[in-house]
Symmetry: C2
Subunit: 419 residues, 2 copies
């Protein structure tokens, strides 16, 4: 057992934190401890500035000319190249567009078309539902004889998953950090296991991009998708991103083949000819306002070392859990997240029969956490704007809510929850 964490120790941590100054790059509401950056990142100040420029100077004044003069037309590639270093991707492999779900459909279709004779898409039962739904959607279009979702049960040692990776599988579709438990999968090991069986691999990075170092190129990942509005702080429903390894580019057939993915969109030819490189993954006209905001938000990462982010992320969550353990009143909180650093992302998930009420009571008292059905209290740690003292305060408030039975008040009873 470690020594108790003291308030003084937390203050010292903040004083020694190399990321401490980054907090000032964000607008944060007063009297709020925000532990839900894994759902929606906080607003970087630069994002609001850029939005204002796009509205008042670009759209309103320069109108249609802005496609050239303000480089709107290049934004998907520009933003993609800003995300690439966070993913361990060399240039020319990441592009910003559409939603994570739509992008998953693109890379999944590409992968299935590459895998003649194999029809199974292997994922985990606990994967984020939209990933599973998109496979089911493709299957509804192609027929079960051409595309079939197979789910391995989740287990601590991944035994069921690893055993299910066979030569019958076309595509392995995994989320690096589980949205419920916060569990981190071993990208290198699982990708290697898949490749050894001729299986192509798609990683969903929604809960890892911007939260921890990722090495897509080193792991020889085939495809990846991810989200712009969580740890990348791109704003609500920000455009998503897509990675496709360069070695595959020449032979891909991307079925959402809209004009922006054409090799010469302004020739207005009748026949689709895909653009070279990662641009082939574009479909319709990019959402310039939202994408510009994401572009500005990414500037926060320009001088940030992801190893430093990871170190602070693990420290924040370790300390949070240690403080929970110090509080007798919190013994009913069951940690679902593996404590081993190599096995967890940047969040903690606790099971509790009253998780919904606990979450609502926390929010009422200014600690923004998240509830995931049926019984999970989820706390995200975003090192760019979360302080060590915040963690201490959050646990103290949580302990008080439980010891005082505040959370049992009828106002916190379960209702339809939306986030």
């Amino acid at each position: 057992m470690l020594a108790d964490v003291t308030a003084a120790a937390l203050v010292l941590h903040d004083q020694q934190d190399p990321l401490a100054a980054k907090r000032d790059a964000f607008v944060l509401p007063a009297n709020t401890l925000y532990l839900d950056g894994n759902s929606l990142g906080a607003m970087p100040k630069a994002a609001a500035v850029r939005a204002q420029q796009v509205l008042a100077a670009q759209w309103a004044q320069d109108l249609i000319k802005s496609w050239n003069t303000h480089q709107w037309i290049d934004l998907p590639q520009t933003v993609g190249e800003k995300i690439a270093p966070l993913l361990g991707a060399a240039p020319g492999q990441v592009i910003c567009c559409d939603s994570t779900s739509v992008n998953l459909f693109k890379v999944l279709s590409c992968a299935m078309l590459m895998q003649t004779g194999r029809v199974k898409v292997l994922s985990q039962a606990g994967n984020f539902p939209t990933d599973l739904y998109m496979v089911q959607g493709l299957a509804s279009l192609l027929g079960e004889q051409h595309c079939q979702l197979v789910l391995a049960n989740d287990s601590i040692d991944n035994q069921a998953l690893e055993q299910a990776i066979t030569e019958e599988v076309a595509v392995l579709l995994l989320t690096q950090v589980d949205f419920r438990s916060g569990r981190l999968l071993d990208m290198q090991r699982l990708t290697q296991l898949a490749h050894a069986k001729g299986v192509l691999v798609i990683w969903d990075l929604a809960h890892s991009a911007g939260a921890l170092p990722i090495e897509l190129d080193i792991c020889q990942v085939d495809f990846a998708v991810g989200c712009g509005y969580k740890y990348l702080n791109g704003g609500p429903g920000a455009p998503a991103f897509l990675y496709a390894a360069k070695r595959h580019h020449a032979r891909l057939t991307q079925p959402l083949s809209g004009w922006m993915g054409h090799q010469a969109p302004f020739n207005f030819d009748n026949t689709y000819q895909k653009a070279p490189g990662i641009t082939q993954f574009l479909t319709g006209t990019p959402a310039i306002l939202s994408m510009s905001v994401l572009d500005a938000a990414l500037e926060v990462f320009a001088d940030v070392d992801m190893a430093t982010v990871r170190e602070k992320s693990l420290a924040l969550s370790s300390i949070f859990h240690q403080l929970v353990q110090q509080q007798g009143s919190l013994h009913a909180l069951q940690l679902l997240t593996p404590l081993e650093p190599a096995e967890r992302g940047s969040q903690l998930a606790y099971q509790h029969p009253n998780a919904y009420a606990l979450c609502q009571a926390l929010i009422k008292q200014g600690v923004i956490a998240d509830f995931r059905s049926p019984n999970i209290l989820r706390l995200g740690f975003t090192p760019l704007y979360t302080r060590y003292v915040d963690v201490g305060t959050a646990v103290a408030i949580l302990a008080n809510i439980v010891s005082s039975n505040e959370y049992l008040k009828p106002e916190y009873a379960i209702k339809q929850k939306v986030t």
Copy 2:
């Protein structure tokens, strides 16, 4: 031949214009005549105000809670219901999401799955390329034996098109107003012809929504898609919309089946169960900032009668052409757009061997027009913010550019054009 249009007559038109006051709802650049609202609508003042609210008050302050407290979660439906009256659609049939191209893929897939035994998608050779490309994309996924694009040649009388509507066709895919010529198709007639042969119909309304009255329900259209950033003024790359007739809702299988189209997305079930009604067409998380701006932009239409818009649109373009005919120096401009009101949308297209240079010279002198390869000068008329006097000034500037040979200067020579 009509009598010459005089400057005094244009001033009088503006004085008597019932839409004159609407111009004040927009931010318009000084010293600019904007005749490209058919590419990118001008910015409504309300759009900038809303963007600021979403950034500063909603995202920055209320963060994740905004999904409920600011009704972010309902935006796709809210915006859809604001667009519906402009399309002649009863409630529950229009939703805002994704891009026009992605939405076309959704409704096309639905339609093809409904049409067992038929594989042909009939469109026109002059249709906007992304529509054709999306059919080609679906064909690349399903195979030519299941989906095959067939193009009818464009002709003034639509004879080739109408003759091609046979019982072999699964889906008729047409754009109501041609992006090049501005030609308006007869939605009622073509939809009826198609239905008589058991063909389902998809209309692309990119160049008609917000420009003229549309009667999707009365015409018994099956599906439609359209664009938020042209006549709806939603901002660059604004989210698009999608219409599906209520009579089809129960039996549709939409393959881009993301979590937002699930009947209970926050139950996080592993199996996709489509939401009832039009919500089944949602895929990923909506782009809240861009969609909020479109929502605010649509308020401009709240008290507008589309018949009045249409009347002014036709008057603006008629007068523009009459003024062109009055100018001897402009005789080389060949009108591509049918002059008959029932056969044109809200733009004029002129063929000219130096169309690109003419367009660039116009832009240089503050008249924002558009060039479409290879030789088309395109002028869009947006009655909410274009005055009659603007039309007079624009033609005068154009005539001067030609008579002075300004457009022959090397600076206007063709380069890669992007819009």
